[in-house]
């Protein structure tokens, strides 16, 4: 077995390969030239590689490859209902689901499901016609459905400037789960919806535990999002940031890469700092051995990934950094790539 990192960039997709030692990396690409790859992932069920692809002229779509990037097919049917007022402006995240399900998040705050391996996509009406939709406000990144999590019988999505939502019925209906999550940019800082979630993850072995990096803080929930505890301070230099990673076995571990502020989208305190908690967010420590300590870079919301062996992130300045699990020592696996939009990890 080895490790494959699909690295989505503004100028196509790159594949980084290593053996299980994760010390030497081969770089292949660019694949899908001409497309901005907002996210790419390998479906662990069948090894198909999916990419959420966008072109400023030709629109938003999804590509799939059954041979890890040698040949590609594009989605045949993907769009919002012709009789509606909304148009699909970007595809953001592909998430394999249960049985034959494949899920796709997009802008404006929409979710699609495919049951034929990404050839055709049906919009999720529960989210498209959500009664609170008029209260959602697009943020700087648009109104993107960027986080899709499936746990035991429950599904979560998070949408920038709309908030987090939970479904118990396979996506038929969605309940806002934003209680105690701040939206400090709103007149009412604790509204039902409108929170600007930057990334939301559920722990794979403790599915009632959710984490989110928000525009206004880092949060953890131990009851599937009914209540949230704010976790910044106690070692984090700022509350602002985009990416988030967990540990596949230890639900008390999480990683964030804070940015200076919402006005200054670069890493906090002039360094490239990954921060780790091992106690559920009560305290945070800097784990940055090997990372530059004079750096003003940015890691986007899809730019940090983890698996059982390591941590991986990509910067907007085109570097991919990897570490063994725990973040103890970082090495630069690739540099001088186009601006990196996403990093995922797969076993191949």
């Amino acid at each position: 077995m080895g490790v494959l990192l699909p690295v989505g960039t503004r100028k196509g997709l790159f594949l980084l390969r290593s053996d299980d030692d994760r010390t030497e990396w081969e770089v292949e690409g660019p694949l899908l030239p001409g497309w901005s790859v907002f996210h790419a992932a390998v479906d662990p069920r069948d090894g198909v590689l999916y990419a959420a692809t966008n072109n400023f002229v030709y629109g938003a779509t999804v590509h799939r490859s059954e041979d890890l990037g040698k040949n590609w097919e594009r989605a045949e049917e993907l769009g919002l209902p012709e009789d509606g007022e909304l148009k699909l402006s970007a595809t953001w995240h592909v998430e394999p689901g249960r049985a034959s399900e494949l899920w796709l998040g997009g802008d404006p705050g929409v979710l699609f499901r495919s049951d034929d391996g990404g050839k055709t996509w049906e919009v999720n009406r529960g989210l498209l016609e959500h009664p609170t939709r008029e209260s959602w406000q697009p943020g700087a990144g648009g109104m993107c459905t960027h986080s899709i999590q499936l746990t035991d019988g429950t599904m979560y999505v998070a949408i920038s400037a709309a908030g987090s939502f939970r479904s118990e019925d396979g996506g038929e209906s969605w309940t806002p789960i934003n209680k105690s999550v701040a939206a400090e940019f709103m007149p009412n800082p604790y509204p039902e919806v409108g929170q600007c979630v930057h990334k939301l993850l559920a722990h794979p072995k403790r599915p009632e535990r959710l984490w989110q990096q928000n525009h206004c803080g880092v949060y953890r929930s131990d009851d599937r999002g009914d209540n949230w505890e704010r976790l910044d301070g106690n070692g984090l230099p700022t509350s602002f940031g985009f990416p988030l990673a967990l540990d596949p076995d230890d639900p008390d571990v999480a990683y964030v890469i804070p940015e200076q502020s919402q006005e200054q989208h670069f890493t906090a305190e002039g360094r490239l700092g990954v921060y780790r908690t091992g106690d559920g967010g009560a305290s945070w420590e800097l784990v940055s051995n090997g990372l530059p300590d004079r750096a003003w870079v940015a890691v986007l919301r899809e730019g940090l990934a983890y698996d059982g062996g390591g941590l991986y992130f990509g910067t907007q300045s085109g570097s991919v950094w990897t570490s063994e699990r725990g973040g103890g020592q970082w090495t630069e696996a690739a540099r001088d790539l186009p601006p990196i939009l996403s990093v995922e990890a797969a076993s191949v």
């Binding site: 030239p33 400023f56 629109g59 012709e82 699909l88």
Partner: protein, 85 residues
């Protein structure tokens, strides 16, 4: 037969084919026969705003748009808008 020429990104999506010879009465008829038609038109059937189409060197939007008639030897060139520096 009209000829339709595609730019590189669209040709790659059409299996590497850059040039198509088509029987089509209008520009719209020609474009909708292409295997990349869903990259040219949005979900409402409108030509995407930044897709430019030239018929024998003339911007189709300056004439009858997608209804622009094609002759047997018309050349339709699809050009993505140029932006940035």
């Amino acid at each position: 037969m009209a000829v339709v020429l595609l730019p590189a990104v669209l040709a790659a999506e059409a299996g590497g084919q850059k040039r198509f010879e088509l029987e089509a009465a209008t520009v719209g008829d020609a474009l909708r026969q292409l295997p990349v038609q869903n990259l040219l038109f949005d979900e409402t059937g409108e030509l995407r705003r930044l897709v430019n189409v030239y018929v024998d060197g003339v911007d189709a939007r300056s004439g009858r748009g997608l209804e622009e008639p094609l002759g047997d030897d018309s050349e339709v060139r699809v050009v993505g808008a140029v932006a940035g520096g």
